[in-house]
Amino acid sequence: MNLQFTLSKLPTMLTASLMTIELTVLSLIFGTILAVIIAFMRISKNKLIKNIARFYLWIFRGTPLILQLFFLYYALPTWGITLSPFAAAVIGLSLNSAAYTAEIVRGGIISIHEGQYEAANVLGMTYRQTMFEIILPQTIRNILPAMGNQFIGMLKDTSLVSTIAMVELMRQAQLVGSATFKYTEVYITAALIYLLLTSVFSYVFSKMESKLSIY
């Protein structure tokens, strides 16, 4: 292991990991918003809405993420829709993580005791108020551990977008590796950066968990 080489490539690798962070955060935000919508569709009493959500989950949980990314980036242009690698990456990661997160959110919502809805109902709260004031805040607390896992999985999944010409941490490691043949150095460096990022994520989540477990 050549330490001097490793240090000389560190700035390049760190810059690339900024892209990894950016992809993760953006996909988390879009993916979570979409997940909440799909979770509500999934528990809707309307059969059509429910089935649309089910179909979505079936597609995105039943096919590989890498295929979904390839489809967005390579297949869509033949339909006249051309996405930049960045757009394809964010859209693909968001759509995919939304499917998994939606099931976590749905599980969290249906785990809330019926009595909570009844109490809110007799106090005169609307469906929206009940959801936003009573059900979702409790759901968030219940699903936080599962969401932490999902988000860490998502961070690692960003490495798959290296296959659609996105230069993030994984792709940068490959590029430097194949140019210098110092694979050990670059992959260990990349691994350490991933570990640092996932550790920070875990830490933030465990902090949030303990903050929310006051009740």
Binding site: E118, A119, V122, L123, G124, M125, Q129, E133, P137, Y215
Partner: protein, 244 residues
């Protein structure tokens, strides 16, 4: 006209008839105790009054408003006249005691926070929990939680309070503190319908007692009549069993 008029209320669950033609008039200031064996339909009856269950027949009229389950406005109007206290408290666990009491007035009635916080504190004082406003429900005993639930219902200024076995989930030594609060409410003139197994409370606080069994009102009357001189054999048998 009574404050609340229930006529021939019917309710089925699937093919099972749970309530068969229940009629009841409630006057302002009445404290109605509903007693009867488990499965009699007591909870279902209360829940139909506030539309937590949709009735299958008959009518419910509260202060001149017909409760029509198909008309959301009438449902909201009727619900606004009533408060409900559940056996299992159903406090909001993620909110402090004070927030539990304030949330509905703030969100539903859009009352200013500073005004309602004053009122919420008074209500907590009334149920003997002035010093617990910043606690979370999980930090309170069952009896304290139920008293918060009563304060929460009162915060919406109901004219009628419904209680569904409010002390059944409590350890015996905590029952008294909740009954005391309910008695105080009754003494202040609150109209109340209370499903209970606390015969002492029914006898002492209620002015009307209803004995229900298998979806029917078997007998109704003053506490003196029901407890001392019931005319129905079933009432007598039930009371003997529960009081022994």
């Amino acid at each position: 006209m009574p404050l609340m008029e229930i006529k021939e209320l019917k309710k089925n669950f699937n093919s099972q008839t749970v309530l068969k033609n229940i009629s009841l008039g409630v006057e302002k200031g009445d404290v109605v105790a509903i007693i009867g064996p488990s499965g009699a339909g007591k909870s279902t009856f209360l829940r139909c009054l506030i539309n937590l269950e949709r009735r299958d027949g008959g009518s419910v009229n509260v202060e001149g408003i017909e409760l029509n389950p198909d008309d959301k406005k009438s449902v909201k109007k009727v619900q606004q006249k009533m408060g409900m206290v559940f056996q299992s408290f159903n406090l909001f666990p993620h909110m402090t005691v004070l927030k539990n009491v304030m949330i509905a007035p703030i969100k539903v009635k859009k009352i200013d926070k500073s005004i309602i916080s004053e009122k919420a504190k008074n209500l907590l004082a009334k149920v003997g929990l002035s010093d617990r406003g910043d606690y979370y429900p999980s930090q309170l005993s069952g009896g304290q939680q139920q008293r918060v639930a009563i304060a929460r219902a009162l915060a919406m200024n109901p004219d009628i309070m419904l209680f569904d076995e409010p002390t059944s989930a409590l350890d015996p030594e905590l029952v008294g503190e909740v009954l005391k609060v309910m008695k105080k409410l009754a003494d202040e003139g609150m109209t109340m319908i209370v499903v209970t197994h606390e015969m002492g409370f029914a006898r002492e606080v209620a002015n009307k007692v209803i004995f229900m069994e298998k979806g029917n009102v078997v007998e109704e009357g003053t506490p003196e009549k029901i407890f001392n001189n019931p005319s129905e054999k079933r009432t007598k048998e039930f009371l003997e069993k529960i009081i022994k």
